[in-house]
Amino acid sequence: MATHESHKKRSGLMDWLTTVDHKKIGILYLLAGGFFFLIGGLEAILMRIQLMEPDSKIFTGELYNQLLTMHGTTMIFLAAMPIIFGFMNAILPLQIGARDVAFPYVNAVGFWLFFFGGLLLNLSWFLGGAPEAGWTAYAPLSTVAEDTGVDFYVLGLQIAGAGTLAGGINFLVTVINMRAPGMTFMRMPLFTWASFVTSGLILFAFPALTVGFFLLMFERVFDANFFNPDMGGNVLIWEHIFWIFGHPEVYILILPAFGIISEVVSTFSSKRLFGYSAMVFATVLIGFLGFMVWVHHMFTVGLGPVANSIFAVATMAIAIPTGVKIFNWIFTMWGGQIRFTTAMLFAVGFIPTFVMGGVTGVMLSVPAADYQYHDSYFVVAHFHYVIVGGLILGLFSGLYYWYPRMFNRVLNETLGKINFWLFFIGFHLTFFPQHWLGLMGMPRRVYTYMSGQQLDGSNFVSTIGAILMGLGTIVLLINIVISASAKHAATKDPWDGRTLEWAMPVPTPEYNFAQTPLVRGLDPLYVEKTAGNGEMTPAEPVGEIHMPNGSILPFFLSLGMFVAGFGFIYANWIVAIVGLGGVLVTMFLRSVIDDHGYHIHKKEVEADIKGGRA
């Protein structure tokens, strides 16, 4: 990125620690999320190795429980969400024609809180054992566990969750206040819409989890009695709070994937998205209904037929807007000039796979049937079809699609296709047999099974599939290394894009748009291309650009939370007070030090434009 004489830039590590640039924070989210994705994947493969043969004794008992807890927790909170946030950071402001996000400083705080929270949780492996109460941490399993594993879970996720909430508010305000002239709500790309709705879900779902974690922490650290029946407590309170958060969470995860698929399908079919307004409406409706269905995780708890029926009907209703989306993607491809790039392959693979996960979802939403499926491998198959077959395929698609914009290099297409086929075939081999395993009675979360129960063959196939998925991911890593060492930078618009993120040169200038673009329709870049302009029409003359200063405070604020987390885990109040004191000091410094940012001079912007850098 060009250095401007009006502002001294930090370099190297300090630049990354202090950055408030949404593009760099996006890369940080992607790297950290990718790292945790590898850890979570490794944990999954270790579990599958244990389950490859009956009566296996490789990872048993407590260790297996730790692997399954950490696999779920890591994948949801530390891999999937940060990678989504990575794309939101890197792409969303570009898509709406904004120079920056609304709260660049808060955005950095959000990243570092997530990072230190995830670090804290994973350090539990080396400090007395990881949590072992499942990713849902049901009481009393989580309240009576005597080692510190669950303490790491509750503090680590509390810190990471605070960062997520900060990120959600940032994106809501960015979308509402920072759109370029002409970028009306009904001209926003679907990825931006999906991220917007997801941020709304984060805002209203995460505080419930925050309270849940506080209650669990009070119970474990300060001997409170929320979930202890002997002292008048009630374990169901945890289940309700967790799922009031937990169900919106699955839509927090899948909606951005829907957005990515919409972008990719439209671009590589060279057609505008079919039924744009229906897609927007479906996204909002899914987000709304997502708050109405949490009890379907608790059908077997015994809340009675009336409660179960109401939540069952609400759950089934979600299939309608989701079906609208599926048909719209298919109709977008219909009659289009389809280019089967790697990104498009992942998107096309996503559609039938996600439908299969949706169908089992409707099966599970029938309470009477759910009594049979509950806590079996059928449920495991279902949620992996929607999360891996839905979200992860969407994230792979987004990675291949936006990689040139984020990293100035195009990923190799041949390796990309090998990546796709290994992962896609591996995925179905892993999880399709789990439907039968569940229907034949194999319970989830159990570390072994006996031979002679017709479970052997399917489990073996499942493990082979998991290894194929691992190989597919390794091909991706090789692809990244090769692309990084490639000499040729990407062109600014390698896919013949339709939306604003393809309108500026590579590497993206730090102020994104030298002149804020004028948006004249849905798919604004495509509109200008067909009008014969080839590039965006500016909405303003070249002028001074205001930029925020970088700051190390987000790093130290999050470090303070990290230290305080250790204090609470080990009930060492001095450490806890030092950590929280550090947090308060950084907040105090932030509020008393005036920081109005800096300006890039007009002549520097003009020089960038002349040099093809902006």
Binding site: N170, L203, P207, V211, S591
Partner: protein, 206 residues
């Protein structure tokens, strides 16, 4: 115009808190944050409602709560909300000394409320109603304590804000900050109205 520059009556905008993009962003972002805070307190209220009868051998809410004391605390907090409204009116009229005066009254009333709450908690502990004595105790101190912590944070916030800007007048940079504090303080006040109703009044009538 520089955002840190003291505003004069001549160049004073109609809504100084929303005159800059940064101010607009803060204004909207803070409203959204309060939306999230609403869910946070709703979850605590739900937990309390589920556990409020579970006092075991300890005293029940009906035996513990003394409405005159809680009424006094309520009046202090409601009045402090009113004084923060006067402070915001002064903000919109560019009367910085009046703004400071009203916020100091707000701050003192908040401290008074906090003092009464601490006195109340100490009293309850002596009656055998503690954080660990029963599920009712845990839920009560969590809900009311979270609110009290919000009051304390508000006091620290406005103290820092006033001290830092004491001689700087009203600027486009600090107007949104004063305004946001007032929003926060109203929110904390509204939560207390619900606590007064759900915890104390419902506690008294069974």
């Amino acid at each position: 115009m520089n955002a840190g520059e003291r505003l004069t009556d001549a160049n004073f905008p109609a809504h100084p808190e929303k005159a800059t993009l940064e101010g607009k962003n803060k204004f909207l972002g803070f409203w959204l944050f309060l939306g999230g805070e609403t869910v946070l307190f709703a979850t605590l209220f739900g937990t309390y409602l589920g556990l409020r009868k579970m006092h075991l051998d300890g005293p029940s809410g009906e035996e513990l709560f003394s409405l005159p004391l809680v009424f006094l605390a309520t009046m202090l907090l409601l009045t402090s909300s009113l004084t923060s409204v006067y402070a915001v009116l002064s903000l919109k009229q560019n009367k910085v000394r009046s703004l400071q005066g009203w916020f100091i009254v707000t701050l003192l009333l908040g401290l008074g409320f906090l003092g009464l709450e601490i006195y109340e908690f100490i009293h309850y502990v002596h009656e055998g109603h503690t954080f660990t004595s029963s599920a009712f105790g845990s839920a009560f101190y969590s809900l009311v304590g979270f609110h009290g912590a919000h009051v304390l944070f508000g006091i620290l916030w406005i103290s820092t804000l006033l001290a830092r800007n004491w001689n700087r007048g009203i600027t486009l940079a600090n107007a949104p900050k004063y305004y946001l504090f007032a929003l926060y303080w109203h929110f904390v006040d509204v939560v207390w109205v619900f606590i007064f109703t759900v915890v104390y009044l419902m506690g008294k009538v069974g």
